[in-house]
């Protein structure tokens, strides 16, 4: 069992609980002797809150080391590359007779497979769309955030070529409403987002499958609320309530934005929250961590053993939080131009003929100097 920094903060309590664990087996054994001599006394096991978190699906299935996350994405993009290639091949084989050589060349030049990075960019873009629609529909922050998380998880398991991200947006939102106990029935939801309900429900089960039927998402918002309370108690009298309130609000905004990044896969909710707090007010957070985890002045030179241990834990947490903060600042949001280009490539992958048509149109516009639109009409 891993020990955490906070076990040390209440030494008296800890001691008491240790004594309890020691005394219980002996009591057990005496009780057992009267009933059955053969049974051996079982030691009482204790599990910390961290172990509880390790039992959550968010930890077991949806937390990754940085490398394995990258590997997962690389696999997907390799798959995309292969599919792009075979698509171009089969398209040229099928329609090659009708195409001129520069059209084929242009096709091969334009239809570059989407890289892992671009994949991530386009998913992030549409994930932001989920957030926008969430605010538009006035859904609670947690519901919207869950929808975003679902969306991102779906595209961690599936490629953008399977289902276009724009078709997944509302399904994720609808499922998130159900998962977060904020139920809107499908008729009124479909009416609100102006989509046919079949198009929403069609993807629901594949989405559930991709989520491996794990719908619980531990958001950092609750954690933030908890820290908001604990800071009040630890820094009692040292911090202005009004100020702390604004810090809370701003940090919450940072957390909402952080959902678009990778932090949720790489760090636990409290770590993410602390990183956001650190970003919002470094001094306050450092002071809080110092008092909470160390309980003595950070500049103290000579440390006894217990203090040394605590300092190690404090440093480790702080280091993790800082790493998390760095990760939080990495944005995958594409610029409009980039987004447009990636989207176009997905579009052309799905329908290569559209690309050829576009090239032809452009060419005609260049040669004749007339607006392409008219020319096409005349031809027809």
């Amino acid at each position: 069992m891993k020990k955490t920094g906070f076990d040390q903060t209440a030494p008296t309590k800890r001691h008491a609980s240790l004594e309890m664990t020691e005394s219980t087996p002996s009591k057990d054994s005496s009780a057992l002797k009267t009933s059955n001599e053969n049974d051996e006394p079982q030691p009482v096991k204790r599990i910390s809150d961290d172990d509880l978190y390790r039992n959550s699906t968010q930890y077991r299935l949806w937390s990754f080391s940085k490398e394995s996350l990258q590997n997962k994405r690389k696999l997907l993009s390799a798959d995309i590359a292969a599919r792009f290639d075979s698509k171009i091949q089969s398209f040229i084989e099928k329609e090659g007779a009708q195409l001129s050589s520069d059209e084929i060349e242009g096709l091969q030049k334009e239809m570059v497979p989407i890289t892992a990075h671009e994949f991530l960019q386009i998913v992030t873009l549409y994930a932001q769309k989920v957030q926008l629609f969430g605010t538009k529909l006035k859904l609670p922050t947690e519901v919207t955030s869950t929808a975003v998380v679902f969306f991102k998880k779906y595209y961690l398991e599936n490629s953008v070529l399977d289902v276009h991200p724009k078709n997944m947006i509302f399904t994720c939102m609808f499922l998130a409403c159900k998962a977060e106990n904020y139920f809107i029935n499908i008729e009124s939801f479909a009416a609100k987002v102006k989509q046919p309900k079949e198009s929403i429900l069609m993807h629901e089960f594949p989405l559930l499958e991709s989520l491996k039927f794990t719908l619980m998402v531990h958001h950092p918002f609750k954690s933030l609320h908890g820290f908001f309370l604990d800071i009040q108690s630890i820094l009692y009298g040292k911090v202005d309530m009004q100020y702390l309130g604004t810090v809370y609000e701003k940090t919450k905004k940072i957390l909402v934005d952080s959902i678009l990044t990778d932090v949720a896969y790489l760090y636990t909710p409290p770590q993410i929250t602390l990183a956001a707090l650190l970003k919002e007010d470094e001094q306050l957070t450092l002071k809080y961590l110092e008092l909470k985890l160390l309980g003595f002045n950070i500049n103290k030179e000579v440390l006894n053993e217990a203090e040394q241990k605590r300092k190690e834990q404090h440093d480790k947490i702080l280091q993790t939080v800082r790493e998390c903060l760095r990760e939080m600042d990495v944005s995958y949001m594409p610029s409009r131009d980039e987004a447009w280009r990636i989207d176009a490539r997905i579009h052309y992958y799905l329908d290569p003929m559209a690309f050829i048509k576009r090239i032809r149109k452009q060419k005609e516009a260049q040669t004749s100097g007339e607006p392409a639109q008219k020319k096409v009409k005349v031809e027809q």
């Binding site: 920094g5 903060t9 937390s63 609750k222 409290p270």
Partner: protein, 326 residues
């Protein structure tokens, strides 16, 4: 003719329920065609005959006819098949000495057989299998039948016993109630009597109350005994003549393999916290009435704040991943 009417009418003799409300429908497990009772009597009284339904060439016997329990013939058929198969494949978990996996495999096999029989897949082979299993395991099957019969008997006995005990208890309770009422009456009269003799009032009341208390009835004692008997009910302990093993392991089940660590990473100081949102809720009557307590909310929030603070995913998952690959 609509569906409803057809269901209420015998397709052979066209008698319908409207004219003969006592009509009963019977089916034969050979083909599950529905025929009314009088038709069955008429057609099959002279021995086996062909099913009167058009195009059905099954030969039916009268003694195989039975009344339909389920409206859906498919369900009825499956239930019959199940009954038949379970009469043969009647092993229990005990026969596998608690090996859950083996037992599950066995159940799966039985389900396959039932499914095949129900849907007419490879019936000849499956019937063969059923037969050979029955021949090979006759001894075991009989033993299991015996055992299940015993189980049912035990259960019935136990229920009877419990019912009796409950009846006794109720009558004793009624008796006690009556006695108490009589005692109270008696005490009242006694007090008045003694007061009329002219002694001091407090003393008299005290004395009478004492005597009433001493008159603890025999019914009450009996009830106590009965409760004792009920508490160590022999039938909960006794089954198949031997003591039932009570919970195998002595450690109680915990979903995460251990009790929660009692040392918390925070100190709950409810009076310091100033949370505008929660404080507001505390003032609302509908929240307070349903047992809303701020301390519980604070406790939960703080627990969640630190839930997983000490999990270093990058380290822990790295080792896990490599071990998976190996």
């Amino acid at each position: 003719m609509d569906e409803e009417e057809r269901r209420e009418m015998c397709p052979i003799c066209k008698t319908d329920r409207y004219l003969s409300p006592n009509m009963r429908f019977l089916v034969n497990p050979e083909c599950y065609h529905k025929i009314c009772e009088s038709c069955v009597d008429r057609i099959f009284s002279l021995g086996p005959a062909q099913c009167p339904y058009l195009g059905c060439d099954k030969i039916l016997r009268r003694n195989k006819f039975k009344s339909q329990v389920f409206e859906d013939v498919g369900v009825e058929k499956e239930v019959d098949i199940r009954k038949r198969v379970f009469n043969v494949f009647n092993k229990t978990l005990d026969d596998f000495e608690g090996d859950q996996d083996e037992f599950n495999k066995y159940l799966e096999e039985v389900e396959d057989i039932i499914y095949n029989l129900d849907n007419g897949i490879d019936v000849v082979n499956v019937e063969e299998k059923l037969k050979s299993y029955e021949d090979m395991n006759r001894q075991l099957i009989l033993a299991n039948v015996e055992r299940s019969r015993q189980d049912i008997m035990n259960f019935e006995q136990r229920q009877k016993f419990e019912k009796e005990m409950k009846m006794k208890k109720r009558s004793l309770e009624r008796q006690i109630e009556q006695e108490e009422r009589a005692n109270a009456e008696w005490a009242k009269k006694e007090i008045v009597n003694q007061l009329s003799m002219g002694s001091s009032s407090d003393e008299v009341i005290e004395n009478v109350k004492k005597t009433v208390k001493l008159k603890k009835s025999s019914a009450r004692r009996k009830l106590e005994d009965l409760n004792k008997v009920l508490r160590n009910n022999p039938y909960t302990m006794l089954q198949n003549g031997k003591l039932r093993k009570k919970d195998v392991s002595k450690t109680p089940f915990t979903p995460f393999n251990g009790d929660r660590d009692l040392s918390k990473r925070y100190k709950l100081t409810t009076d310091i916290y100033n949370d505008p949102f929660i404080v507001q809720l505390e003032k609302r009557k509908d929240f307070v009435a349903s047992g809303f307590q701020t301390s519980v909310v604070y406790d939960r929030l703080l627990t969640e704040a630190f839930l997983g603070l000490g999990c270093y995913i990058s380290e822990e998952k790295k080792t896990q991943k490599s071990s998976l690959i190996l």
